[in-house]
């Protein structure tokens, strides 16, 4: 049996909407946040969990962490049913939400860590060893005596990560951990997560909209849309499915006319600059280059693939999300 086993998971919410007419009564509607979701994750896997806003990602994480009770379906994490054995389960998981803090706002972060030591009933020595390891890796040494509210966003994120890993959780949930971080902080955070996963075999479930995070960290991704699991597999094979189009940008010395391009080539023009999007399956790149050369005297030419965000946007469009 895998570490996380999810079968036929459903969750619906009741939403009260204002009626078109009248202010007193409200209409009740049911929203299906999760619809028969099933997957399994092995111990030590690092999985990306993506999907547009409102797809049900956070709901899944909340159910897996024992906060929410599902409407139906079964979930086992390390043999536990999260919402039934909540306290026992909480002892084995760590949670980081990029947009809210889990530490105590007004006290130095060391005080929070001391409190966490008692909450998770950690042995003094084990706690100290782990704290030293994490403060070194996350460069928190200087900040331990600073109140959380006075830390910068990047520092706070590192402090949160340390707090969520002190009790050596088997499973770590990360919800948008790099949101709002600068490039340097992002890169070092990714390095840290990769090491944590490798050295401690911590299973990590990463929920994010930042596809760079997913590409850098996860080999496996799950795509959720409208509460349904739409894809579960290798990131490369997901991208290969949608990574068909190539882009050539070409600037001419003076304005020219590009006519007679075959179907499947989309051209946009800005002055003497042209952007040609095409599918190499349908239009041969060699032929296209020759054609562009023939159309006038070229000042500059660049060729590129689509970036990952564009691919995902295209995927969401094709999946009708």
């Amino acid at each position: 049996m895998s570490y996380i086993e999810v079968e036929d998971l459903c969750k619906s919410f009741t939403v009260r909407r204002k009626r078109e007419k009248g202010h007193f009564f409200r209409e009740k509607t049911t929203v299906q946040a999760l619809d028969s979701v099933a997957f399994s994750v092995g111990q030590g896997e690092l999985v990306g969990y993506i999907g547009p806003n409102g797809a049900g990602k956070s709901t899944t994480v909340k159910i897996l962490s024992g906060i929410l009770t599902p409407s139906s379906g079964s979930v086992h994490v390390g043999g536990r049913v999260p919402w039934q054995d909540r306290k026992e389960h909480a002892q084995h998981i760590g949670v980081v939400f990029g947009q809210r803090t889990q530490l105590w706002w007004d006290v130095p972060i060391l005080d929070s860590y001391l409190l966490l030591r008692d909450i998770y009933r950690l042995d003094e020595k084990a706690w100290k060893t782990r704290l030293d390891e994490l403060t070194e890796k996350l460069q928190l040494g200087e900040l331990l005596r600073t109140p959380l509210r006075q830390l910068s966003l990047g520092q706070r994120m590192r402090a949160e990560l340390c707090g969520s890993l002190l009790h050596r959780p088997e499973l770590l949930f990360l919800d948008e951990p790099t949101i709002g971080l600068d490039a340097v902080s992002k890169l070092s955070l990714r390095d840290f997560l990769r090491e944590e996963n490798r050295d401690h075999r911590t299973t990590i479930l990463l929920t994010t909209h930042d596809m760079e995070d997913v590409a850098a960290l996860c080999s496996r991704v799950m795509v959720l849309g409208h509460g349904k699991l739409l894809f579960d597999g290798q990131l490369t094979s997901l991208l290969a499915k949608y990574d068909r189009e190539r882009v050539i940008e070409v600037s001419y010395e003076k304005e020219t006319v590009l006519s007679g391009l075959p179907d499947g080539c989309a051209v946009t023009q800005t002055g003497s600059r042209y952007r040609v999007v095409y599918d190499p399956e349908n239009v041969s790149t060699a032929w296209l280059l020759e054609y562009l050369q023939g159309a006038g005297s070229i000042r500059e030419l660049t060729a590129q693939g689509q970036n990952i965000d564009q691919l995902i946007a295209q995927m969401y469009r094709e999946m009708d999300l």
Partner: protein, 265 residues
């Protein structure tokens, strides 16, 4: 049981409560003014028509009520905010009972908050002339019973506040329910009019209610209105209400937890 965890949470919240020194000073001034006004009022009443209860006892009652006002006042705006946004759910990722976590936190806030205010206020009241200020407890034994009663009252009022919070979780709007419960609290706890001044028949009913267990019961022991020989009965009634209210609160929070919806999540 995670006694050590809850003890740490208590310590942390005690320390946090120490940070609001400005609020403490404001509270002390406000409560001293209230105390002076109320005592003048009762002195005026007594000048016209003396009551059975001596004026010294009434002024002592008023000052003790004012000194421990922070204890009965519901004030955890942080928790109310968390309930409104649904962020309270995130506290469930800790291996703790949600009720226990907030119960300990409220006790810490109330106890440190009232200690900080009560000590200077009682010193002030001790300096006032007889019949204006506070008199010494009737006996050392009565004082010990008073302290015990105060501690049970603290647990009782915290349990009561957790029930208010439990109801807030259902309505998501604290204003209506809190306004109503605060009114009941102010009147039935003896903060506005000492319960000792109500007609005897009324007192029989009012003193049996939970609100009388918070401050009225220990104050009666302090002033000797209830002699030390009756202390076990007084303390037992306090403890009984505390157990009942805590049990009801736990049941309410448990059922809330099952139907929990996270706002905006």
């Amino acid at each position: 049981m995670r006694t050590k965890a809850y003890a740490s949470i208590f310590r942390m919240n005690w320390k946090l409560e120490l940070q609001y020194r400005g609020a403490v000073l404001g509270g002390i001034i406000c409560q001293i003014v209230f105390g002076l006004i109320l005592v003048s009022l009762y002195r005026a009443l007594y000048a016209g028509r003396p009551q059975v209860m001596p004026i010294e006892t009434v002024s002592t009652y008023v000052w003790l009520q004012q000194a421990f006002f922070r204890m009965i006042l519901s004030s955890d705006s942080d928790l109310v905010g968390k309930i409104r946004t649904g962020d309270i759910a995130y506290d469930l990722v800790r291996p703790l009972s949600l009720y226990g976590y907030y119960y300990v936190r409220i006790i810490a806030q109330k106890s440190m908050g009232s200690l900080l205010r009560a000590v200077p206020m009682l010193v002030f009241a001790l300096c006032l002339p007889r019949g204006w200020g506070i008199m010494a407890p009737v006996s050392p034994a009565a004082f010990v019973c008073f302290l015990l009663g105060l501690m049970i009252g603290l647990c009782c009022v915290s349990a009561l506040e957790n029930i208010t919070m439990g109801i807030t979780m259902r309505t998501l709007d604290p204003k209506g329910i809190q306004a109503m419960l605060n009114l009941l609290m102010m009147i039935l706890s003896g903060n506005v009019l000492p319960l000792t001044l109500y007609p005897d028949a009324w007192q029989k009913v009012i003193t049996a209610l939970p609100y009388a267990q918070l401050l009225d019961a220990p104050i009666r022991l302090y002033t000797g209105t209830r002699p030390v020989t009756e202390a076990p009965g007084v303390l037992l009634l306090q403890a009984a209400w505390t157990v009942v209210l805590t049990g009801a609160g736990i049941a309410l929070w448990k059922s809330n937890q099952r139907r929990l919806v996270i706002q905006g999540g």
